[in-house]
């Protein structure tokens, strides 16, 4: 593989980059070279320099600062490329689907890059025909871009970048804002581009379960330096040998699970001839081989629970919360919020989003609300938060109808976190925002309260920054802190894990556990099955305007293929309890 005959698509030679007024470099001594046609994944915690590295490769959007070392694009220094060729050669897709769209219709958006480069009209039409076909965008061409779903928007962004036929495609967390289904579709598209057209791909992403099996190469950055550079399997082994949780979190759940089994049984050490599984398929093969080796006949579905360590089984027996007991406990708890016969449509002409929905939230619940895109999860949460009034039906809080509760006290008792955390800030610094929120409910010492909340979420360093200058994860936690300072009894969260890295996500789960222990009831609309499995004690599924499933996580996930974690898919029906334990244990560690 290490042939010099293969051209390097791009190379960093001893690159150190320093932002103006920064006290340490964002990248230091980076040496990295990726060959033509490789699919490389850029891993690393938030703030490790991933975006900086990607943007240095895209000259038009390179950050200002001091750069030492050379960056080569096709063996030529990047600054030596003529403007137009450089723009066409390297394509960049960023995280937020909306902000990348420039013009009004899909067709025009796709043409935008070609217009900029002064293509002739015939050339534009030809490429348009080709690309629209490849991406299946033909039915959308005349649609306005602001009517599209998030996944469609991101597909349009990808196609718009590919219109210039780049040889190198840079992707800066392109899946972070998408639901899992759209994310998988977009990833499939990126893989096809890499497979069929041989485009070099460099992609940074937090969600790795589907990504790592597709990659040729993993590059991990830590504090601006390359901490690892090699194949995904080597990466798994390296992560295992380091035993650092940040590294392990960067692995797919299946891989992590398999490696942990290896820890308990020295015969299963990765080094002992077992290739570490990266996908569910490989995971099943792995389970089967181990079963053969141990002389246990594997179940036909590959789901032999005996490979699941005994510690989990013991925990299972000792656990008082068997499903039946838990459901009984749930029924005896008093209902906090009751929705009866909810009907809701945004306007008279559009179809109803909720159609006769009945649902009860009991105090002490931690509910994960699932549902496809546009199934009305957000709408339901907004109704429950009192932001919209249903056309029919009513909602009661502690037995009292919403209509009889003053809106001020309703908003004090129910906290709502919108999908876009930005909406929750109104002041010039995070400190002011938090202090105002604490003062609102009449705290004796709002300043101290704000400070305590900030330190609890690890936001002390960001207190004097403008809320818009916070990073994505900080913004999410900051907005949550603002909502929590209102001390609500019921917390409604809309996609709280969107765009957050694995490490932060687990910290968020711990915070939510704490809040729950303090007595708050939590309802969370989410696409993040793994997070829900680790956190919820009830899972509900919204479909066609009604709640169609409402159950304990274990029985909810059992038998699901789509709304299931990779571990559930790996272990199949019989062992899913074990999968629950494994996931819970992991989250709470």
């Amino acid at each position: 593989m290490e042939g010099s005959e293969q051209v390097a698509s791009f190379a960093f030679r001893g690159v150190t980059f320093m932002y103006p007024e920064a006290d340490r470099p964002a990248l230091s001594g980076v040496n990295l070279s990726v060959k033509e046609g490789e699919f490389a994944v850029l891993s690393g915690p938030s703030g490790s320099g991933k975006s900086t590295l990607l943007r240095l490769l895209k000259r038009e959007v390179s950050p200002g600062g001091r750069l030492n070392g050379t960056i080569l694009l096709d063996d030529r220094p990047i600054e030596a490329w003529p403007a137009r060729e450089a723009a066409a050669r390297v394509g960049l897709v960023m995280q937020h689907p909306d902000q990348q769209l420039v013009v009004d219709t899909v067709e025009h958006e796709l043409a935008f890059g070609m217009e900029n480069l002064g293509f002739s009209r015939d050339a534009m039409r030809r490429r348009m025909a080709e690309m629209a076909g490849f991406f299946g965008l033909e039915p959308l061409l005349s649609r306005r871009t602001d009517e599209l779903s998030g996944g469609q928007k991101q597909t349009v962004n990808l196609a718009a970048v590919l219109m210039l036929q780049p040889r190198l495609l840079l992707l800066d967390e392109p899946l972070a804002q998408l639901d899992p289904l759209s994310a998988r579709e977009l990833l499939g598209m990126i893989r096809r581009l890499n497979d069929e057209w041989g485009i070099t791909v460099l992609m940074s992403e937090h969600r790795v379960d589907d990504l790592l099996p597709a990659a040729d190469r993993v590059v991990r950055l830590e504090e601006g330096a390359v901490a690892f550079d090699g194949s995904p399997r080597e990466f798994a082994r390296e992560a295992w040998e380091r035993r650092e949780s940040a590294w392990l979190r960067a692995l797919p759940a299946v891989t992590r699970w398999a490696l942990e089994r290896g820890l308990d049984d020295s015969a299963l050490e990765p080094a002992a001839g077992f290739p570490v599984p990266l996908s569910v398929k490989e995971g099943r093969q792995w389970v089967r081989r181990i079963a053969e080796m141990k002389g246990v006949s594997a179940a036909p579905n590959g789901g032999d629970c005996s490979v699941v360590p005994t510690t989990d089984r013991r925990a299972e027996n000792a656990d008082p919360l068997t499903p039946a007991a838990d459901m009984r406990a749930a029924d005896s708890r008093k209902p906090l919020l009751e929705a009866e016969e909810l009907f809701f449509a945004y306007d008279a002409r559009s179809p109803a989003v909720l159609r006769g929905l009945d649902w009860t939230v009991r105090s002490g619940d931690r509910i994960a609300l699932f549902g496809g895109n546009g199934s009305g999860k957000s709408t339901l949460l907004r109704l429950l938060a009192g932001l919209h009034r249903p056309q029919r039906g009513r909602i009661r809080l502690n037995g009292e109808p919403f209509s009889r509760i003053a809106s001020r006290s309703l908003h004090a008792r129910i906290g709502y976190l919108a999908q876009n955390p930005q909406l929750h800030f109104a002041f010039d610094t995070l400190r002011e925002d938090l202090t105002h929120a604490a003062a609102r409910i009449g705290a004796l010492d709002p300043v101290g309260e704000a400070l305590r909340m900030a330190s609890r979420f690890g936001l002390t360093h960001a207190l004097d920054r403008h809320p818009h200058d916070l990073s994505g994860g900080e913004r999410q936690l900051g907005a949550l802190a603002v909502v929590l300072l209102g001390k609500p009894e019921l917390l409604l969260l809309d996609e709280p894990t969107k765009g957050i890295d694995a490490e932060r996500k687990m910290r968020l789960a711990v915070h939510l556990e704490d809040i729950h222990r303090e007595g708050a009831t939590i309802v969370m609309a989410t696409h993040d099955v793994e997070f829900a499995a680790a956190f919820a004690n009830r899972c509900s599924l919204l479909f066609q305007g009604e709640i169609v499933a409402d159950d304990m996580p274990g029985s909810f996930f059992r038998g699901n293929l789509f709304y299931a974690t990779p571990l559930h898919r790996l272990l199949g029906g019989d062992c899913s309890r074990s999968a629950d334990r494994a996931e819970r244990g992991e989250a709470l560690r």
């Binding site: 895209k58 038009e60 959007v61 403007a83 137009r84 723009a87 066409a88 394509g91 960049l92 960023m94 937020h96 909306d98 902000q99 990348q100 769209l101 420039v102 013009v103 009004d104 067709e107 025009h108 043409a111 935008f112 890059g113 070609m114 217009e115 900029n116 480069l117 002064g118 293509f119 002739s120 009209r121 534009m124 039409r125 348009m128 602001d146 962004n157 718009a160 970048v161 210039l164 938060a385 932001l387 809106s407 001020r408 908003h411 709502y416 919108a418 876009n420 930005q422 909406l423 929750h424 800030f425 109104a426 002041f427 105002h436 929120a437 609102r440 403008h466 818009h468 603002v482 209102g486």
Partner: protein
């Protein structure tokens, strides 16, 4: 009806000539009878395009404007020889009443024409014309047009969420409300500006500003466009010649002339009506084709 059918399929340049001519002659030919004929023709075009739906939605404000001109002109202007009657001390002259009526007719005619303009000259056709003059400015116009609805949506969203934490314009003292309002606007602007930075990155990443731009929007100049534009130009030439010779204009001041049409007036009226009905030829032609196809099937 979709683009590509009847009058909507005409090339933007043809439509530009049509409306430029229609409006110019609508102002030059100051004769109530001719304007009435023009108004009828423009109305016919409107009714063919969308059965008069958008015209009806505009008809109320239009009627208001017409009424205002009818009443105001005689009250303000006292030119003219023939005094009809006195309203208190104000002389109301026949000429100023006639002038007001003609003005009102001209206004409602031009507005009717403009309503069909909005149906025929879509945003894309307009941009196509504009982009030839200045591609950058056309892009700017389009982005600005998209920004306003987006800002509105965001403002509503922001107000709803911020109300929950008490930053609202419907609670507290006047000073508090004003402060909250300012805060909402400030965060809306900060948010929008931040988004704009990302949009700018996305534009530059796709080579914006690397050299002269070309335009993707394209409309083919077809044979029917050639035919129509020749017809329109010929009609314009004829009307202009007649107007230059004194035809098509009613003498109002100082003394109201006869409403009877002279030969030149009549010619100008007919040609102008034909000019205005030109797009309908394609509408009729395409529609009869459909009818024929349907009855054959």
């Amino acid at each position: 009806m979709s683009e590509g059918f009847g009058a909507r399929a005409l090339h933007p340049v043809v439509l530009l000539v049509y409306y430029a001519g229609g409006i110019t002659f609508g102002m030059l030919l100051f004769h109530p009878v001719i304007l009435l004929a023009g108004w009828a023709a423009a109305l016919a075009v409107n009714f063919h395009l969308d059965r008069g739906r958008s015209w009806r939605s505009w008809s109320l404000p239009m009627a208001g404007g017409v009424l205002l001109l009818l009443v105001l002109n005689p009250l303000i202007s006292h030119r003219g020889r023939t005094v009809w009657f006195y309203l208190g001390d104000t002389p109301i002259t026949l000429e100023s009443v006639a002038y007001g009526a003609t003005m009102a007719l001209s206004l409602s005619f031009l507005l009717t024409l403009f309503i069909s303009y909005r149906l025929l000259m879509t945003e894309h056709k307009f941009l196509f014309l504009f982009a030839r003059v200045s591609p950058k400015f056309a892009l700017l116009v389009m982005m600005a047009a998209g920004l306003i609805p987006r800002l509105r949506r965001r403002m509503y969203e922001l107000m709803r969420i911020q109300r929950m934490r008490g930053v609202t314009v419907s609670e507290g003292t006047v000073l508090e409300r004003a402060r909250s309002g300012a805060r909402l606007v400030a965060s809306l602007l900060a948010w929008t500006l931040e988004d704009a930075l990302q949009t700018a990155d996305s534009m530059q990443a796709r080579g914006y500003g690397t050299g002269p731009r070309s335009a993707y929007l394209h409309f083919r100049f077809r044979i029917r466009d050639v035919v129509t534009i020749c017809g329109l130009l010929a009609a314009s030439g004829a009307i202009f010649a007649l107007w230059a010779g004194g035809g098509g204009v009613l003498e109002i001041y100082p003394r109201l002339g006869s409403l009877a049409l002279s030969g030149a007036d009549r010619a100008a009226m007919l040609i102008y009506a034909a000019f205005l009905l030109m797009p309908l030829i394609w509408e009729w032609r395409d529609r009869s084709k459909w009818q024929a196809l349907r009855s054959a099937a």
